[in-house]
Each structure stands twice: as structure tokens, then as C-alpha cells.
Symmetry: C2
Subunit: 200 residues, 2 copies
Amino acid sequence: MKKLLEHPEKSARPSKRADAQRNTDALLKAALAVFAKSGVDAPVRDIAQKAGVGVGTVYRHFPQRSDLIVAVFRQEVDACADAAATLAAKYPPTEALSRWMLRFTEFVAAKRGLATALHSGDPAYDILPAYYDGKLRPAMEMLLSRAAAAGEIRAGVAPGDLLSAAVSLCRPAYDVAPDHTKRMLALLIDGLRYGAAGGR
Amino acid sequence: MKKLLEHPEKSARPSKRADAQRNTDALLKAALAVFAKSGVDAPVRDIAQKAGVGVGTVYRHFPQRSDLIVAVFRQEVDACADAAATLAAKYPPTEALSRWMLRFTEFVAAKRGLATALHSGDPAYDILPAYYDGKLRPAMEMLLSRAAAAGEIRAGVAPGDLLSAAVSLCRPAYDVAPDHTKRMLALLIDGLRYGAAGGR
DNA sequence: CGTTTATACGGAACGACGTTCCGTTTATCA
DNA sequence: TGATAAACGGAACGTCGTTCCGTATAAACG
């Protein structure tokens, strides 16, 4: 038998040691930076050094290299999803939607390296699309329904459709003007406005 | 100064030693088999062993691992393109077209492992899409124009469109009936017949 | 035929990487 | 403060891709 919930603590946390928690955070931060600079194929040793820990510590927190990649990806998805609430509180509905979609495309563009790793066939990444969808779709749904309730855009738009539309807009971003994505996004938002109930 | 074209030989061949040519062939054959069994990430040593040579010999013929992958891919593309002429000689125009498209989808399905390697971002594979296109598009163009000239299908169909249509038909071939691709192909051919000049 | 020589061969060796192991350090709690 | 479970660091291991070099041999010549 194991003692569980001896002290309820904060909540569903098995009470980690302080240094362990610090190193987990440092590793996620370092991995984010190293992946951005050298791609997802960067050596684990580089990440360990950047975080100021030994490789053993990396593997204590993330038993496989892919676990670290997944964790970074989730962290970024979470940040992007959280931005939806922040923007909704700070801007009028449609502007919040517009700003969030810009934020989302930035996320997609920055994570293209990760995306190719996801499609590499490694089953370690199979869970990610579901996580991605479960977090980002509700965020977009919230923004959409607020804007629709305010009569600023038409109702009945599927959030998933809009997400994948935004993703595909980022696709040909190689040899195209740097503001191409922004312009396409603006077009998309205008398209939503077109059949609005308010009919302004 | 180097002596060149001392004996004109057969043609554009720098006259390779017989054993070298034998080993090149053996390596291509072995690589094809190993890639099919263990995927494109199979170790070079496995391929060397299967071909009955040392690793040094592999690198003499294919300076990089990716060169071997590219060579196998080209060989398969060539075989598929050559099949077009064979089929055109043996069958009536539209049946030749139909049979070749089936052959082509088999090629695509078998090379899915290679395809993900192609999209890995490694610049070593950048030449392949052009090669692929340059070989397969003319093959399909020939079959199409023959069938059109015979009045069996409509004219003015872009070969590239048909190729990518066939490719996308192969895409969701995971959890679907095994003859799904065949049925979709038949549909495609029927669609071509629809506006035929002969109007049979 | 032998001789010669450019060419190809085999596999040990190297460096980089993911991952494991274990002796040492440290946070936590009584 | 001392005990103890947890976490740490980095040397070490096995597997890669790739290189190197002594050996073998195909082929051209006498």
C-alpha cells in the first residue's frame, strides 16, 4: 500500500521537491529556446547545458527525448489557448477574435519544425493532435460565439474549419511577402462579418 | 591532362569496373528490400550485409545515406514510368491508362515511407519532386493523349491534375477497405469518359 | 600468360547521439 | 541537526552515419 493524499497539498500534485520543479521549468524553457534556434533535432546535451543541468536530470524529468518535445508543444498550445481568454477580456469580441487568430498563426509558423516531427510516423506523437484540438477548438469556439452573440459576425461557423483554414494560410509562407498571412487573415475575418445579424 | 574518350565505349559511361557495377546493382536491390521491410530509417549496415558487401563499399557508391534513398526512389519512378510504354503497347488506350494509374497508386502506397522522408526538410531530397514530375507527367500525358485521340475520353485534361488526384486518393488508405483505391480510380476513369468525343 | 596499376573492397575506427547507471549531493521533515 | 528519500551529474554503453587505409582484384599491357 502506498500513502496517498497524506497532505492534500495544492491539488492533484504528488508534491514534488522544489529543485525538481525548478529544473522541470528550466528544461522546458531551455528546450523551447534550443528548438527554436537549432530545430527539434537538437541534441539532448545542448538542452541540458542550456538549462544548467546534467543529461541524467533531463531523462529523470522526460524519460524519452520525444517526451520533452511533446511537453514543449503542449506548453505552447496551452499558452496560445490561454491567450484567448486574455484577449476576450481586453478587446471587443471581433477584435479579440482577430487578434487571437493572428496569435494562432504565429504559433503555427513558429512550430513548423515540430509539426514535421509530428508527422514522422513516431507513435510517441500520436496523442498530440487530440490535445491540440481539445485545447484550441474550445478557445476559438468561445471567441466565435461571443462575436456572433454581439451580432458582429454570422453564426454557425465551425471552429475547426476556421482553425484549419488558418493553418493552410500559413503553409505557402516560404517565398511570399512577410505580411501575406496577416492580409489573408483579415480577409477571413471580413468574410465572417459578411452575413452578420447586425448587418452594420 | 587526362586521357578521355580513348575508347568511345558504349556511350556516356565512364567505363566502370565489372565488380563495381555488380555491387551497385546488388546495393539498390538490397536497399529496396530492406527499406520495404524496416523502413527508410534502416541502418546502412543492414543494407550492406543484405547486399553482401562491406559498409565502405556502400559509401563508395553512395557517398551519403540519402544518396542511396534517392537512387532507390528514382529507380522505382523509372520503373513506373517505363510501365506506361509497356502497357500502351499491350492494351487499348483507355485500358492502358486505367492499368497504369493502378500501377501508379501501388507505387505511391508502397513509397509512403520514402515520402515522409522527402518532406523531412533535408535539402538532399529537394531534387526528387522535379524528377518525379519530369518522368511521370510525360508518361501520363502520353496515355491521356492516346485515349483522347481514340475518342474514348475527353481531351484537355491536365496530366498533373490527374496525378495529384490519384495521390490524394491514396492518402486515407489506413482504416479503409483495401479496394477503396481501386474503386476510386475506376470512378476517376469513368469521369474522364464522360465528355468523350466519341460519345459512345 | 605474367606484370603492373588504377580501382574497388572490407571492416576497424571515429565522433555524435540517445539512453542508462550509479556514486554523490541535497531538500525535506522530525 | 541528523536521517532518509529524492534528485543530481556525468561517465559509460550501444547504435548510428561516416571516414580511413591496408588489402584484393579487374583490366590493360608486354
